[in-house]
């Protein structure tokens, strides 16, 4: 019987990969929302920025 492992990644590698993905998404939404708002002449406002960012944390 072959022994199977749940994961071939070490815990440091998991941390690194998860932190990479998470920071990318958070910074993408945090900065992208402001840039989109600026492109639209600040018509969307803070609500848009907050709404874009907080679902990423949830």
């Amino acid at each position: 019987m072959l022994k199977t492992s749940n994961s071939r990644l070490t815990s440091s590698q998991k941390v690194f990969l998860a932190e990479l993905a998470g920071t990318f998404v958070v910074v993408l939404f945090a900065t992208g929302s402001v840039v989109i708002d600026a492109k639209m002449g600040w018509a969307l406002g803070l609500s848009f920025v907050a709404a874009c960012l907080s679902p990423e944390w949830r």
Binding site: K14, V27, S54
Partner: protein, 147 residues
């Protein structure tokens, strides 16, 4: 993101939180470079993505303190406060039994409140990585030290 990655790594996504978790003994010193490296590298990648695929308006969203209405000590204090609020909420949900399921809602809510009430004063970055990346790419380094 908190729900997706919280079990793997406590979901920092923020160098300020990484240092907070180091001070509180949640992570080892040897893990700090891994966290910081990942956070800063991918904050830069995310800002590059925004620059090429969304646009470079508003200095790529580099944080800008409101010097017109607030003196520097107030701005500095507010930035410390918003980051402390975020850290406090994270500790509260981590340490309070029964609240772990609400961690994403609580943390997201705190981020919302920080943005609504404090972004017009200091920019409410809450994250040095989020400030560093757009600042470096848009060459607006003047206020980076604040974050």
């Amino acid at each position: 993101m908190v729900y997706a990655f919280g079990k793997v790594l406590m979901a920092h996504f923020n160098p300020a939180l990484t240092l907070g978790f180091l001070v509180s003994g949640h992570i080892k010193k040897s893990q700090v470079p891994v966290y910081l490296g990942a956070e800063i590298a991918n904050a830069l990648l995310a800002s590059l993505f925004v620059m090429y695929f969304v646009g470079a308006e508003a200095n790529l969203s580099a944080n800008a303190p409101n010097y017109s209405f607030f003196p520097l000590p107030v701005i500095f204090g507010v930035e410390v406060l918003v980051t402390a609020f975020l850290m406090a909420v994270i500790f509260a949900v981590v340490y309070t039994k029964g609240l772990k399921g609400l961690s994403g809602v609580a943390i997201g809510g705190m981020v919302d409140l920080d943005i609504f009430f404090f972004s017009f004063i200091s920019g409410a970055s809450m994250s040095p990585a989020r400030s560093l990346a757009p600042t470096l790419l848009s060459d607006a380094m003047g206020d980076l030290w604040l974050y």
